[in-house]
Symmetry: C2
């Protein structure tokens, strides 16, 4: 849908990073007036809800520099160029948890912040985890701690805002709605 | 929690926009090695799930330049400096829908994309809407179309990915879990 389309008159590239790219577009609004849009380009991300045989959820705790604190999240990572979401999902699951799976079900996808960023995030779920015999090396700059929590424990962490991000809050509400216990 | 804290060695400010600020931090990782973090600063945002007396949900459709298409979303907007989330919620509800309310309940809050942005998003809900006698003027660069949908209609739009952002997908799952019909 192109309702209220804003036409691009000029694009200024401000920054090309390893995670984000920033550009500022001069646009013409539907009423003919001029405005500017600040746009973050992001490759997209994929997350997995990993469920153990006894209905626990595997989370990772990691430091989030933009917030200057650590959060407890479901495993996730950026998509590589041209990669399909399922491939990213298995890779990040292996790197961050030491488990793999041949069985992923799609839960949902959403843009995390469509007002200023094009990041699309996918969520998958699996209850078919297999421990890797040989651990896979992850990113050199990533440090994560694994946690296995019941849904009730996870809900408590939501209350305490130690779980506090879009994909993980969604995942916990999803498991609640599905009647996991 | 400061697990795996990354110490800031240097902060380079790249861009100060009207919506986002971009900085790149040189950090020292927990293993003593150096890395860089690209960080988007954002003032935070507030959204409202507005329910009518006959259990319809009021949405706004608007053009999202980063995606080059329009999305159907719950009403939302950026926080002004020093503003409390409830004040933002009422202002955005008034500007975007022509309704106001004295009765907002907190649903949840989450960081939209904690890997690269500090944007915190709040979601409130109200079923106590009052039509404004005099419409309030919104942002000069904002064009929105109002829609009133049943939850089933909204779920269909999720399937079609015309509803496709974190706060709105969360809101619809929340209403589903609450048993709205």
């Amino acid at each position: 849908m192109k309702l209220f389309e804003e036409k691009t008159m000029k694009t200024e590239n401000i920054y090309n990073g390893s995670v984000v790219q920033l550009q500022v577009d001069d646009v013409t609004l539907p009423n003919g007036k001029a405005s500017k849009r600040e746009i973050i380009k992001h490759p997209g991300a994929v997350s997995v809800i990993p469920l153990t045989k006894d209905n626990k959820i595997i989370f990772v705790e990691q430091y989030r520099k933009p917030l200057e604190k650590s959060l407890i999240e479901i495993p996730a990572g950026k998509m590589e160029r041209g990669e399909s979401p399922v491939v990213t999902a298995v890779r990040e699951l292996e790197e961050e948890t030491g488990y793999t799976t041949k069985d992923l079900s799609f839960v949902t996808s959403f843009y995390t912040s469509p007002g200023f960023a094009d990041e699309l995030l996918y969520i998958y779920i699996t209850d078919q985890l297999e421990a890797l015999e040989t651990p896979v090396k992850g990113d050199h700059d990533e440090f994560v701690k694994l946690l296995e929590l019941t849904l009730d424990e996870a809900k408590q962490y939501v209350e305490e805002e130690r779980i506090h991000d879009a994909k993980t809050n969604y995942a916990i509400l999803y498991l609640h709605a599905m009647g996991l216990n």
